[in-house]
């Protein structure tokens, strides 16, 4: 039974022992918490840059990085759920972009159309999720190829749908860019709130509901899941549709970041999100991982970008450092895991 775990190149993370002493258990909980790795990596990075650059840890910069995280962060949530089932989604960026285009085109004209347009956007993205979900769950084709195919198709479709960049007027579509100040100083946008809420909700759904356990079970051992009477196909389908909805959410977030969209937007979203997911400690073999980790993973990448830019390093050297640090972040994760046993 152990091979899928072993394949994932990690031993089954042992779990807190409730029979242990209270204190011990708490310590355990802490050390065995799968988010520990990415979290400490993030903290290390922040501390590091605060030392080596001026005003990195400024409130402005912090809230800025949070704002920069909303789109990839939201996409990464969908990516995580799919990867938890042992799948992968190369089309998430393409789905989102098509979503933004549909919404923008429909809403162009007067603001009254924005909300209906947004709803239609949600339908479109969910439908696209449904399509890959159907192919994966019914025909049992490898998600990699299915979503790769969808990616190539959608990229062209978007370009046929609209050649050039589309702008949306202020209104419900761009409301996520608005926001208020915490403690008078710390700017927090609705977009940031929304992404944090999304993470929380999804974390709840995955850890505290039957559906969530079924997702993990399917990713863990889908034959066993089938034999315990779980409707594996339905679970898979639900996951891909949910992912589609999350991509629509990301589309909305994108308008919060910038009112303009184009068929060429977010070309590397798929790789970026997979990276965030893996840095977040989720196994590409499915069955183990957390959405919280993925969001932290997304933040880590952004912190590196921001910090290195502010350190005034040339992009070429930035890449080299980024590459090293990303590997280091994951190494840190695997070390904390080892500690945990």
């Amino acid at each position: 039974m152990t091979d899928s775990l072993q394949l994932a190149g990690e031993k089954a993370a042992a779990v807190p022992d409730t029979s242990g002493t209270r204190a011990a258990t708490v310590a355990d909980r802490f050390f065995r918490n799968p988010v520990l790795g990415p979290l400490s990596a993030l903290i290390l990075a922040v501390v590091g840059f605060s030392i080596f650059t001026q005003n990195f840890l400024s409130v402005d910069n912090t809230s800025l990085i949070l704002q920069q995280s909303v789109v990839v962060g939201t996409l990464a949530l969908g990516q995580t759920v799919i990867i938890l089932t042992g799948g992968i989604d190369l089309a998430n960026g393409a789905i989102m972009v098509l979503g933004t285009l549909v919404v923008a085109k429909l809403a162009s004209g007067h603001a009254g159309l924005q909300i209906p347009a947004l709803l239609i956007g949600f339908v479109v993205c969910a439908a696209l999720g449904l399509i890959s979900g159907l192919i994966v769950s019914r025909l049992g084709l490898p998600p990699f190829i299915v979503t790769l195919g969808l990616l190539t198709i959608l990229t062209s479709v978007s370009r046929l749908y609209t050649k050039e960049t589309v702008l949306v007027d202020n209104g419900p579509l761009t409301v996520l860019s608005k926001g208020g100040y915490l403690f008078g100083k710390f700017q927090i946008t609705f977009g940031v709130l929304l992404v944090l809420v999304s993470v929380a909700v999804l974390h709840f759904a995955l850890t505290r509901t039957a559906w969530g356990r079924h997702v993990y079970a399917v990713g863990n051992n889908d034959l066993a899941a089938k034999r315990t009477g779980i409707n594996v196909r339905r679970v898979l389908l639900s996951v891909y549709v949910l992912a589609g909805v999350l991509y629509a959410l990301a589309a909305w977030q994108a308008f919060g970041r910038s009112p303009a969209t184009s068929p060429n937007a977010y070309p590397t979203a798929n790789l970026d999100t997979i990276t965030a997911v893996v840095i977040g400690g989720t196994s590409l073999f499915g069955g183990r991982g957390t959405v919280l980790g993925s969001y932290l993973g997304a933040l880590i990448v952004l912190v590196l970008q921001s910090g290195l830019t502010q350190a005034g390093i040339d992009p070429l050297y930035q890449n080299i450092v980024t590459g090293v640090l990303v590997i280091a972040a994951v190494a840190l994760d695997s070390i904390t895991r080892k500690k945990a046993r």
Partner: protein, 322 residues
Amino acid sequence: TSTKSGSATSSGGSGGTSVKIGLVTKTDSNPYFVSMRSAAQKEASKMGAQLVAAAGTADGDNASQVTAIENMMASGVKAILVTPNDSKAIVPTLLAAQQKGIFVAALDTQTEGNKGVDATWATDNTKAGVEQGAYVKAALAGKTPVLAMLDLQPGVSVGDQRHNGFLTGLGVPDGSKEIAGKQDTNGDQAKGQTAMENLLQKNGNINSVYTINEPAAIGAYTALKNAGKANSVVLGSIDGGCTGVQAVKDGKIAATVMRFPSKMATAGVDAAVAFAKNGAKPSVPASGYIDTGVQLITDKPLGGLAAKDTTWGLQNCWGGAS
């Protein structure tokens, strides 16, 4: 856009003593932008300014440049030079920067309607296309073109401008039967070669080739050479990278149209520093941007087209030396 709000109020606490200038290129590793960066770097250190550089992920991708610009503002730059990946989408971000009293200039590519920038130093890509087209037309010497077009990728403005410019210069409308076939190459040499090979299989009579840039052209040349058509087919290109010019010199490419990234960079940095010193902004011509020009490079000047030879080209090319 507010000029008097000035650099004093620029965000995030100013970085150190020297002026901080930000440069955001389209991508990080494309030689064109690498040489633009190093030119800017040189000029900046000459002017005693500090250059902070960042790049987007891919042509057409706006979000990555938005992030980069935000990070620069956070690091307290006085001026931002940007080569927009999306001329239209970037505008709101640039306006926001100007709000903060930051001097913004576009390089290489104009923003839509030159909005959101205090100045622009750019190449007219359409013009570049026209010159390549005109030369190919001349080189065909009256023969009806059987044209293969090696494009960039759909929906990227630079690609469309050069493509359309070329057709104008050649004098054939898009979609006409003279066009034997089109393929996307992403400006990549290997893809250019494969595309050319497949197009030659489709139509053996191809006698003229448009290429989006010199790597694609070199790929196409290899395909033509293997097919024994290197001499019978007119191969034009755009960019003016040193290997490109060398390829013209070696007779692989008939002609290329040079652009001048370092000119743009130098001018941009100078203006930025000037603004930081005394809030002065360069005067922008009616066209809305300062054209750093394009130059046809060939050793076989034809049809009275103003051309410079490859010796001149190799002295002024970008990439190799810098």
